[in-house]
């Protein structure tokens, strides 16, 4: 009887050792190297979820973590991100060129407050990146979204360190001289194309379209929008006037919150001294009847 128990015990022990070795320590979950063993606070995007209330039964609704739209903003949440994108548009209107195109890289911190019946004010600390030279800069910005009925553009103030380091003077000058005389007026379409491709010779015109679009995107932005330029549908260079290169642009803007593609036509001028100016803008109607017939075969 005793022998039986002993042999059973040994069998079990051997079995256990084998199991443990093969499948891991029974008290600790085995994880791969990239497993979630690192705590929340080591990830740049993580924020303590202190205000959560956990539901215990599946599918039940409970009011939990509300997005803070006033006070200290969570840099990962949408209010700071939308406001930061407005700053991006502003910086492009001020500093953008065929060789300088700025994009939001990171939101570090932000805060927002109501301004008594007039609107809402944001303060942000951001990193912006100039896409052509890959130079990054730290920026601090203040925005004011006017409240009330009218569609009034946001007001932005921003100062950045390090963004203008990229020396674009030589390239801009060469581009300007090349296209200034009206022998061969430039034009292009579908930039980028369906495959995301941009011909090298078209890149400065693509950047210029993006910068020009920033004027519209800045003007049209509010706390419920997030704009990017989706594509330059086409552009045509016009005769140089008053030493300014001049272009007609047809751009497609992607507004993320509605997912709409919005068509605009712009009259754009540029020179190294004057920078980018947008003289005219014209919203194009959404073309429902422009759809291909339904029997599209592949």
């Amino acid at each position: 009887m005793v022998i039986l128990v002993w042999s059973m015990g040994w069998t079990l022990l051997i079995l256990l050792v084998v199991l443990t070795v093969v499948h891991g320590n029974p008290t600790v979950m085995v994880r791969t190297g990239s497993g979630p063993t690192v705590g929340f606070d080591q990830h740049p995007n993580s924020v303590p979820l202190g205000e959560d209330i956990q539901t215990t039964t599946e599918g039940e609704s409970e009011v939990v973590e509300e997005v803070m739209t006033t006070g200290v903003l969570n840099p990962s949440h949408y209010p700071a991100r939308r406001a930061a994108t407005v700053v991006q548009h502003y910086l492009n209107t001020r500093y953008g060129s065929p060789y300088r195109w700025i994009f939001l890289s990171t939101v570090h911190s932000g805060s927002a407050e109501e301004v008594a019946e007039m609107g809402r004010k944001y303060q942000l600390a951001l990193t912006m990146q100039e896409m052509i030279s890959n130079v990054s800069g730290q920026c601090s910005a203040e925005l004011f979204f006017p409240g009330g009925e009218g569609q009034s553009a946001p007001q932005v103030q921003a100062s950045c360190e390090g963004l203008h380091q990229s020396n674009t003077t030589a390239q801009e000058e060469a581009f300007y001289q090349q296209h200034r005389t009206s022998n061969n007026l430039a034009s292009g379409n579908n930039i980028p194309d369906s495959y995301g491709h941009v011909e090298p010779s078209m890149k400065p015109f693509w950047h210029l379209g993006g910068v020009a679009s920033s004027f519209i995107m800045l003007r049209e932005s509010n706390e419920s929008t997030l704009y990017n330029m989706a594509q330059v549908a086409n552009f045509t260079q016009l005769e140089t006037e008053k030493d300014q290169l001049r272009f007609n642009y047809h751009v497609l803007l992607h507004e993320m919150i509605s997912q709409e593609i919005i068509h605009w036509k712009l009259l754009v001028t540029w020179s190294p001294e004057q920078g980018v100016q947008v003289l005219q803008t014209e919203l194009q109607p959404k073309c429902h009847h422009c759809e291909a017939p339904p029997n599209t075969t592949n």
């Binding site: 005793v2 979630p36 995007n45 993580s46 973590e65 997005v67 969570n74 990017n228 989706a230 599209t296």
Partner: protein, 372 residues
């Protein structure tokens, strides 16, 4: 002598000509058929290429790959998934992944193709992938919104199409329903429109779209077996956790966030790209009727929406030279989630068995001690 010399020169020239012609023909054949070649996965492919590729994956890996037509689109095209895993007589747990639910997000079918290619390439040599292929079946739909995807390839003016291609009703003349608003998950409540011209049109009712119905049907049949549900979108560089519907928290929200943040770290480790993690109402916008919400609601514990590159510079028209790095980082993120989900299911089981045996052993020793 001279004739001989001329003849030999002629022969050499002739053979060179034949060789170059043959070589040219060879390379044409090579580029058309050699879809395991690396540069296949660095280009976008239209629907017939993807269909041919699915057939090829089955042909080349008959012991681990099969396909399943699980529905029809509005225009009566097949909705097909690849089922990938080591064959087993027992019922297996599953991972669900779908791409191309929104037509213009071309990087997403490219990612599904890359994912399939990678697990097939590594499962024989990588012990972890092999283990997962043994214990799990991967159900991967490279293009869910087939009609919309084909439409977006039609010409430049259709490239940015998003929705399905079902016609509007009741006097509304626009086409398409947003498939990711059409699921039976708080359908029609938030972040939707009843205007059929709107990009968020949620349809005449939940599951009005056959594409959404097909997914719902499959998930319903498999719900006890699916460990993780991954739906792939672009752009924005985000990992969304349930629920898109606001003021609703998943019961395992903390776990979802932890796994999501781990996946984002894995992504960043590949090429340095930042992916933000959170619920859609927090980091993007609130919306209901999504496939992710539906998956979580029927009990699939890990349900993630991937928003791949970029952050707006190219948007939907991501350059082909970014396909590979984007897929590499997304693969690392997906693998993080899948590995977590696999280990939780299979090591927990072993842990239970082991714990039971320890208890039995202890009982045996105690009883033998008493007897002695």
């Amino acid at each position: 002598m001279m004739m001989l010399g001329l003849g030999s020169v002629g022969l050499v020239l002739l053979s060179l000509a034949v060789q170059s012609g043959h070589g040219a023909q060879d390379s044409a054949v090579w580029s058309r058929e050699e879809t395991t070649e690396r540069n296949y996965y660095t280009r976008y492919h239209n629907m017939s290429e993807i269909t041919a590729w699915m057939e090829q994956m089955k042909r080349e890996n008959p012991d681990v790959v099969s396909s399943m037509v699980y529905g029809q689109t509005y225009e009566r095209r097949n909705i097909t998934l690849l089922k990938i895993g080591l064959r087993s007589t027992e019922r297996k747990k599953a991972i669900w992944m779908d791409c191309g639910i929104h037509a213009r997000e071309w990087i997403t079918p490219a990612f599904c193709q890359f994912f399939v290619k990678e697990i097939l390439r590594t499962y024989k040599t990588d012990t972890k992938v092999n283990e997962m292929m043994k214990n799990l079946d991967f159900y991967i739909t490279p293009v869910l919104n087939v009609d919309g995807y084909i439409y977006s390839w039609h010409n430049e003016s259709t490239r940015l199409w998003r929705k399905s291609r079902s016609p509007g009703t009741g006097g509304c003349t626009c086409y398409g329903t947003d498939l990711n608003r059409n699921f039976y998950a708080n359908w029609g409540m938030v972040g939707v429109s009843t205007d059929c011209c709107n990009l968020f049109y949620c349809g005449t009712k939940a599951l009005s779209e056959s594409e959404a119905w097909a997914v719902t049907d499959m998930l319903g049949k498999m719900r006890e077996d699916i460990l993780a549900f991954l739906t792939i979108h672009s752009y924005g560089q985000q990992l969304l956790v349930p629920y898109g519907h606001p003021n609703t928290t998943a019961p395992n929200h903390d776990e979802l966030m932890e796994v999501g943040l781990g996946a984002a770290m894995a992504i960043k480790a590949v090429h340095g790209m930042d992916y933000t993690v959170g619920t859609s109402p927090d980091i993007l916008y609130p919306f209901s009727g999504s496939s992710q919400d539906f998956a979580r609601l029927i009990g699939i514990p890990l349900s993630f929406t991937f928003e791949l590159r970029d952050k707006g510079e190219h948007g939907f028209e991501l350059p082909e030279d970014q396909i590979q790095p984007t897929c590499e980082e997304a693969y690392a993120g997906a693998q993080h989630i899948i590995t977590y989900t696999h280990d939780k299911a299979f090591y927990s089981y072993a842990a239970t068995v082991t714990a039971t045996l320890w208890t039995t052993l202890l009982a045996a020793w105690v009883s033998s001690a008493i007897l002695l």
